[in-house]
Symmetry: C2
Subunit: 231 residues, 2 copies
């Protein structure tokens, strides 16, 4: 049952921004119509950057980014999601996001924002994800449930089994599942993390599965390493 | 390189409580000297329970527990850690923790609190972990770093390779690693989660590795399922 025939593409493909979008990156939909300038000279973007850079240090720390990112239901982004986002765009490995970064060589090859500063890359990344989230949140509930999750992952090329879909849904739900009814939904930040985790794990598996038969022989060391490198 | 010969035992073995302990469960060290009554009749414990049960509903939700749990550096517990804790002690699968739960059949066989109510089980679990944390935080920094992590995992029976230790350290660090210096430390809540994740993954691997040679042959479905069932 080898289910990932198409090369996974997590690049968001949906562009209709809706006003009831899900995160702080709300403003991003306005910004989305501009073309970010190569050296990060966009004044509106700099305004956002400054709002996040609370200690005016000229760079954004994990703590500052976490404080700025809010889901549609007013919960904060998880530290793991914030670390994941920072890790993608902290191209100079400083542990912070600068407004004027160098060429954004993008980790995980999720997106390609060449000539973008670290911050505008991060900004565009979040607002693109936001469009994805709004697109798949068909019932406009502000969270992704059941068939919405399935359709989102499928659109990225991941046809997970019902069992795996339920596991993803439970793991990334924003609260505990009860014995009754369907699992609770997945908020924006955890949805992004869930998608990136599925992508990362699938790619790790594929790298080892050289004959593409859906089976691998791996050592304990390999197994643990594959898991621990996912966000 | 098969490194888990001894049956892993995550039951905390260290009992010296120190005042500068790491979490809200501080009070737990005081309580630790009592024997919790089977049906949860301990008045001090009930006082703690009531403080956490902010909406006085008689049970504690994920949100209430997350609001109550604070690391030594005043950061909140991650949602994933809170969900993990709730999952262990929500024995009646209600999605909440009750003061008078039934018999605590303990998931993950991490600890055995028979005859304890859900809440007193949770309480003891956190304060036991706190003692573990304080024990291994040799330099009293309030976080677990490098050799401290290695010694903690080793004491539980997990002799991870230096590569895996670094991956654990990076993944559970409370902030992003920079290009310079050692990775940042691991706060209390993420330390507990890291230990439980290593235990869960190792046990999942061992279940498949029936001939105990340190290698397994697994399908994509199995691989994803093993990973997604870990906290």
């Amino acid at each position: 049952m080898y289910q990932y025939n198409h090369p996974p593409n997590l690049r968001p493909q949906y562009s209709q921004a809706r006003p009831q979008s899900a995160a702080y990156a709300n403003h991003g939909s306005r910004h989305g119509h501009h073309t970010p300038q190569p050296s990060g000279g966009d004044p509106l973007l700099f305004q956002y950057f400054s709002a996040v850079d609370q200690d005016r240090s000229g760079s954004i720390s994990v703590t500052e980014l976490q404080a700025a990112l809010i889901n549609g239901n007013w919960t904060r982004f998880d530290l793991d999601t914030v670390k994941m986002l920072m890790g993608i765009f902290d191209t100079d490995n400083s542990g912070t996001i600068d407004f004027k970064g160098g060429q954004a060589s993008v980790i995980l090859s999720l997106v390609l924002y060449s000539n973008a500063s670290e911050f505008s890359g991060l900004w565009k990344y979040i607002s693109d994800w936001q469009n994805v989230f709004v697109h798949f949140d068909r019932d406009g509930s502000g969270s992704i449930e059941g068939s919405e999750l399935q359709q989102a992952l499928k659109s990225f090329g991941y046809n997970l089994s019902p069992t795996l879909l339920t596991l993803v849904e439970r793991k990334y739900a924003s609260t505990l599942a009860t014995g009754y009814g369907p699992p609770p939904g997945i908020t924006f930040d955890r949805f992004v993390r869930a998608c990136v985790v599925v992508k990362t794990l699938t790619e790790s598996f594929q790298r080892v599965d050289t004959d593409r038969d859906g089976w691998v022989q791996i050592s304990y060391e390999q197994f643990m390493s594959m898991v621990l490198t996912a966000p």
